[in-house]
Symmetry: C2
Subunit: 267 residues, 2 copies
């Protein structure tokens, strides 16, 4: 494994990401944590023949059990961990913040000590809130309908997110970088002196925003350069992340959370 020696380094069970195939989506936050940690995993729908059937059977089955005695999953992503469930069976957990907390603890991607663990979680959860708001720019009034059926509302929602919400979130993440300057973060990390899943989760949302709103981001980059230029590029070049982004394991954005509708971008 590529990660530096740590008290949390250990032999890992098989971590299996259960997610939709072909899109980064919310699964990407899980992938980036594991890639940044240098811990191997199986991305079932990507790596296994008929893998998406397995994802559907476990995470989208409509029954009162997912599998192996685990409770049902509301929606992907799910995480299956061999041998970690009751009676030595597999454990299945869901909800992105929850999977990140679990894997953060197992891989050391949640910082050092109890305080950092909760600070990492809160910053990642804030990035996931932004992730949801960006999703709503193309689905503001009806989750299951097409964008084209809610385009008028999308124009309003996207303008609000670009004009009011992005600067609020970018301002917060910038303040995190300032706060962490004194802790050895050097503008590279949001919490502490090494990569955590707060960094990878914030990074993924920024990267998606660069795809969805390129014109808006070009302007914001001047205003929030420490975040959108220095931090963004620093995470991109982290060991594990760099190799992953250059590989064919990384999915391209398309019709998932981050979509490039030019009419929703800054005009």
């Amino acid at each position: 494994m590529a990660q530096p020696a740590s008290k949390k380094q250990r032999t890992h069970p098989t971590y299996e990401l259960l997610y939709h195939p072909g899109i980064p989506g919310r699964g990407e936050h899980v992938r980036l944590l594991l890639e940044g940690a240098g811990v191997p995993y199986v991305d079932t729908a990507r790596d296994q023949k008929d893998g998406y059937s397995t994802v559907q059977q476990i995470c989208m089955n409509g029954a009162a059990e997912s599998t192996d005695g685990n409770p049902p999953t509301f929606a992907p992503p799910g995480l299956r961990v061999s041998g970690a469930g009751k009676d030595g069976k597999s454990l299945v957990i869901s909800q992105t913040p929850n999977i990140l907390a679990y894997l953060g603890e197992k891989t050391g991607m949640d910082g050092e000590g109890e305080q950092e663990k909760y600070w990492v979680a809160q910053v990642a959860q804030t990035a996931l809130d932004l992730n949801n708001e960006v999703h709503d720019t193309h689905h503001p009034v009806a989750v299951m309908k097409y964008y084209e059926e809610q385009k008028e509302e999308s124009l309003k929602k996207a303008a609000d997110v670009r004009e009011n919400r992005l600067p609020k979130f970018f301002g917060f993440f910038t303040r995190m970088l300032e706060w962490n300057e004194g802790n050895g973060g050097k503008g590279k990390y949001l919490i502490g002196s090494k990569l955590t899943y707060a960094d990878t989760t914030v990074w993924q949302v920024l990267d998606g925003l660069y795809f969805a709103f390129p014109k808006e981001m070009e302007v914001r980059k001047k205003e929030f350069s420490a975040l959108l230029d220095d931090f963004y590029n620093s995470v991109k070049s982290e060991k594990g992340i760099k190799e992953y982004l250059a590989s064919d394991k990384r999915f391209e954005y398309s019709m998932g959370i981050f979509r490039n509708y030019p009419e929703l971008d800054r005009q």
Copy 2:
């Protein structure tokens, strides 16, 4: 303390909820966890003279530090814990799912064992997702504008949430109750055989929905009676919860997340 003896029972530091005054809001999930655990806490804006100034100074200050060396807070709720920070100072954490995870672990409200801890978190996080979707029924396109300025869009969003999202979420929580029948849950608990913060968090969202959409809920109650009748009333009568709900510490719904606009309800 009123809670049953548990290996997690201990002397607690001072837990201080930092939240807006006068509304249940997201702070209510924190209050219900602590009331259900029988653990004392300070609700700063409610209990202290000029308490809201303290909340604003710590959680809404726009600086690169909240207080005592802790990182900034994106928005309330925050939790301050005496003596739990670095160098014996106070710890400040934020984000509702994160505060619930922290207090769940400290009070035993996160179930028994590692598996239950993550299952409790994922169910609570699913309820908080629903909480956000309900908020968006009156603020679908512009977070900072008035409802009256986005009423047309609200009518569409509320219809979508009532018709498509509520049955999906209620179906999931019902499947949790079915799954947990065999684990000693008896229809009273979502995970395991005692009250957890999954129960209190789901309950609070259901209770808010009864206020916001009384007509819709009256119909849904027949369809999802195990959840909306049996489970809902059972949590309401839990030790700690019952006394709290009858007290003047419980805020009434008004203009927060849950609002009663009759035009958004089932017609």
